[in-house]
């Protein structure tokens, strides 16, 4: 993947860049919003990682300018402002996801990869398939090896999110945000508990497990 990092803090930028390269991506860096806008217009990127507060042109203005050009490249906004309103503002400006500083690199990587996936032509899918696990989004049913698995509504949404991002790392925070719509971190391992419940339903009865724990990052559903 080709990723553009627009961040005025050089050290933070080089940290992200190094991490992305080690994960097999190509990463460029722009030092402020204006440079970022130029670079984003000049080349095709899969994802833009944009810091919100920068000199010359701030991140939100840059994203707005891009969107005005009808550039639909997915954007992950980085910000120290984490209140609900700040997020709403960021998403309104055209950002696709919002990550509050400080963050773990694993979190950033997971979100960047999840965003890149979004670029796939968003045809309305009615069926998700990962290995022998199948989800029918219309009938709200889940079947593995021909056996129907009964899930609670929230478990269904959790599995749906994991299947939509199969093969990618999904962090606990992402799950809290996207499946539960909570933007805070409960101290106890609530997500782990829910994952293990889901696991006991979709994996335990079967010889091969699909839902993997990625240490220090989160989970991955993979055939």
């Amino acid at each position: 993947m080709r990723i553009l990092i627009v961040e005025d803090d050089r050290e933070a930028a080089s940290y992200i860049r190094k991490g992305l390269r080690e994960s097999g991506h190509v990463a460029d860096h722009a030092g402020d919003g204006e440079e970022g806008l130029e670079m984003a217009r000049a080349a095709e990127y899969d994802v833009l990682v944009v810091d919100r507060m920068m000199p010359r042109m701030d991140g939100l203005s840059m994203v707005e300018a891009l969107r005005a050009d009808d550039d639909r490249t997915p954007v992950l906004i980085l910000s120290a402002l984490g209140e609900v309103d700040d997020r709403v503002e960021g998403l309104k400006a055209g950002g696709d996801d919002y990550l509050v500083k400080p963050y773990a690199f694993a979190e950033l990587l997971a979100r960047v990869e999840a965003l890149a996936r979004r670029r796939d032509p968003d045809t309305v899918r009615t069926k998700l398939v990962v290995g022998d696990l199948e989800m029918d989004l219309l009938a709200r049913t889940v079947v593995r090896e021909g056996e129907e698995i009964l899930l609670q509504p929230r478990e269904f949404r959790l599995l749906e999110f994991l299947m939509k991002h199969s093969g990618q790392v999904v962090t606990r925070t992402m799950l809290l945000e996207k499946v539960w719509d909570y933007h805070f971190d409960p101290q106890t391992n609530v997500i782990d508990v829910h994952i293990s419940r889901l696991r006991s339903k979709i994996d335990k009865p079967f010889p091969r497990s699909l839902l993997h724990t990625v240490r220090g990052a989160g989970y991955r559903l993979q055939a």
């Binding site: 984490g82 805070f184 508990v193 220090g216």
Partner: protein, 480 residues
Amino acid sequence: MQARGAAFLRTTAFRQTLLSAALFALASFVTLGFVYAASAGMVLRRADAAINEEVAELDASFQAGGIRTVNRYILERTVGGGADYLYLLVHPSGRSLSGNLTYLPDVQPDDEGRVQFTYRRPAAGESGNEVDDGKDDRTARGRIIDLPSGYRLYVGLDVDEETRLVSRMLNTILAASALALALGVAAGIFVSRRFVRRLDRINTVARRVKAGDLQPRAPRNFTGDELDELSENFNNMLDRVEALMHRMRHTGDSIAHDLRTPLTRMRNRLDEALREDGDRASREQALERAVADTDELLGIFNAILSLSRLEAGESRASIQRLDPADIASDLAELYEPVCEDDGLSFNSEIQSGLTLLGDRGLLSQALANILDNAVKYTPSGGAVTLRLRETGEGMIEFSVTDTGPGIPDTDRERVTQRFVRLDNSRTKPGSGLGLSLVQAIVDVHNGRFELGEGPGVVADGHGAGLRASLCFPKAPSDKA
């Protein structure tokens, strides 16, 4: 002193009172002026009416017997003095024939033939030796009538008393108006001095606070007037500032204290990892733990940040009408498996159909913090209950009860303060900010956060338990 006086004259209070004093004086001047015009006019009208009657009388004499009768009429009334009227009959040659006036006034009559002039009253009797002391200059008013064949007749009345009265009245009115103005200004100065002095006291307090002394408070007289209200608000503001300053200082100390432990631990681990010889696995493990420590530190930082924002009132909470049952049931669903995993039985009793004005995210977070605590501190085999109901007093109450050790009565106030943790050994994870955050969120929603004894059975070894209650006012009816 000079400068102070000048500054005083510039004060709003003084200007306002000056203005109202001037308006008051003007109003009394206009009122008295109206009284003056009415009474002065009446006096003169009465004199004129009397003169007209006498003129009619003389006219009748003239009609009856010509100029002689008129002359006799006048002589009859003036000889010996004491006549009510002033008369003068003048021959066409200009010679005075009869009357108690020596000469015709040299004043042009107005449209109705009336004249007003000053004459010298002849001394008592007809002798005519006049005392020239000027004091006998008197005001008269009358009519000059041209009779046929060149005779001229003056008939008038002495209106000296009346005009004197009227002019004295005018003087009194002017004096009264001046007095009203002076009194108004004096009262203005008095009132505004008082006002300014009271304001000065408040300003003095403000200046002292600005200089760094948070102790002084504006004086109050408890009458509830504007200045008293200003003082009260001002003092409340100072109380809040002082509390915030105090909390800030306390927080600073606590942050230093609380971050030192994990930072030191992390430093030691990193140090160890550096010194570790060869063993890659243990080095990696040390680094992983260091990362976990960092995450914990970041968590504390984030909690401090949101707490500060909430407490400073800067958080732009998005308050909406919402059904608290949604919040409660979402959290029940989130925590039920967690409780079961920890060997706790979980129950929820959720009343539906209530409406609350609140921020879903914040309320969920507050409730999650309390549930976290319940799960963390209740020993396995215990029970956790989440309840949502309308209380007897019409509040909406979220409550979480557990059968853990509970919190002793004496500590219940304390635990909502920042960084206060009751297990001094700090064996359980946590920042000591959870309940502070709950308190701040409840405050933002004008609610009440209370801790009480739970339903636990002390004898079973678990403890009294804890009942945490979050009460919020019901949203006002939509139809209203």
